[in-house]
Amino acid sequence: MSGQAVSLCDVRKNFGATEIIRGVTLNIAQGERHAIIGPNGAGKTTLFNLISGRFPITSGEIALNDTRIDTMPPHQINRMGLSRSFQITSIFHKLTVFENLRCGLLWSMGYRYSFWSPLWRQKALNEKAEFLMEDLNLASRANTPAGLLSYAEQRALEIGMTIAGGASVILLDEPTAGMSNTETDYAMDLIRRVTQGKTLLMVEHDMKVVFDLADTVTVLVYGQVIASGPPVTVRASRAVQEAYLGALEE
């Protein structure tokens, strides 16, 4: 198991009597770009929620860089180097774009719960936030409250906040959902650029994105992994085609 960025071992999750995740075992190597696909209701987002600690798991094990994280609260998992984005944009709506990014940076830069260091004096912090803003192409919107941004801009900010903390493992939940073609191209480009050298785990519906970005694809159906491997192999797999791709292309 060693050397894996994220490893899941027979992870199960029940909501009441229904089992949503039914024994998922998955290993993601360092630096891998891994996509999880599957039909609606397969449990992809739930799996993300389990890995990032949003929900507790029912049984099994989850490890990040060989440390068990399945009993940790989300903020602790985050501090260990795992960061995630949300399918439904989750940003600080009343804060400006600049503030949002700064919030994403604070913990990783060691500010913790400081109430004695004024933000305006933190040169390194502010420069880094500025830099990030340029990177996301949001510099012109620096002082706009995040809630007033366009949808694509909000998605970009979401990705920006996810990577801001410098986490080594990035979980992206449908980063291009609801985007037009040009926006999707731009977002893909952005994701590729900002996740260089990091382990990327993403849920995605857009097959173009999946096959373009991912090194490995895992197919999740009804809470179980039915196939996993390089995109070409998975695409060729009959089981996958029957269970998922066929249905999608109808």
């Binding site: 009343k94 109430f115 933000l119």
Partner: protein, 439 residues
Amino acid sequence: MSDAARSIPMATPRRAGSAMTWLWVLGLVLAIALPWCFYDFAKARHSGFMISMFSQAGMMIIFALSYNMLMGQAGLLSFCHAVFFGFGGYVVIHALTGASNGSFPIPMELMPLAGGLAGLILAIIFGYMATKQRATAFAMITLGIGELMATAALMFQHFFGGEGGITSDRMIDRSLFGLSYAQSIEVYYLIVFWTMVSVIGMYFLTQTPLGRMANACRDNFERAQFVGYDPKIVRFIQFALSGLFAGMGGALYAIAYEIVTFDSMAGPLSANALLMAYIGGTTVFGGPILGAVLITVLQSGVSLLSNSWLVYVGVLFITMVTFVPEGLAGIIMAHGPIRKAGKLGKLAVPYVRILVPGFILVLGFVALVELVSFQTIGAAQGKKLVLFGNPIDIASNIPWAVAIGGLIIGGIWLRFESIVFGRVWDEITAELKRAEART
């Protein structure tokens, strides 16, 4: 929003900030000068009532701002804020007694720190419980804490003095500047000083990582977790610090009145904090200051004039909540861009035009309330009804007709004028938007 904007030095020019700075300086100058506006030269003495009211306003400013650290900045609705205020007061009352008999030898000027420390310690204890939860559960826990503490203050004589409270004497003869604090004007300036310190302190807090993360947890506590922060700890520290400032406010209360009773811990004062913060505006740092001043003046000033003042306060709250949810400060801020564009002048005439029917409406309403309450309550108390300087005969129909007429005519007219005003306002803002789009 404006303070957020000012905290980004490289992204915005400093000009907006400097206008703000001047406003603050103006406020301070006003606070220093205000007592002298009511100086009675004939008798060569200050107006004790005015100084009391301003002193009260000072401590309420601290109290309301510290409340807003919870409500506006961290999104926490607390019903026990007065507990920290009152506790700070009780501790300082005991400290004053200790200072005069020598067992607690600290100078008067530093007493607020003792109150603040007391508030901080109590807020750490209660905060540990309450901040485990958020939203409504948090609010309800604080409601319970508030009730428990207020009753405990009545029950335990040794520390709280029961119903009669605890009294002390502020002339402890320990001062860094050799002041006796016999006159309330000296106390007033002590309050001004500590209010200034607290305001600066609380403003500073909004500009620190903790302050920013409190905002973040308010907007989206889940996201805050996924950038590495534990919202519970953010809430906890924010709660404890707001207790610190509330305790300082309570200390000033103890110094000004030299008595602390359970009322200063009880529910109505906590509710007052909420009202002041909301009326003033929770989204702007300085909002609660306006709210604190307004509510203090209403409570101390208007209640001298009419025993129905609670109705006016109630109506004021309802209209504010319904029509001006961003509070007084929110309204003022809304004029910012218009002022910058130099178009404030265009609003002058519409303002006058709505002020007239608004005034008629209010006069009608006030007259009606006074007439009704005079008929059932006031008459037998042997008062004479004097409305707007004229004695009124309530038996005749004329005052009633005038009042109801004013209410109806003012209402209809105001409705009409407010539509006109809205049109002008919309035009100007649309114009500003177009101008912004061009640049």
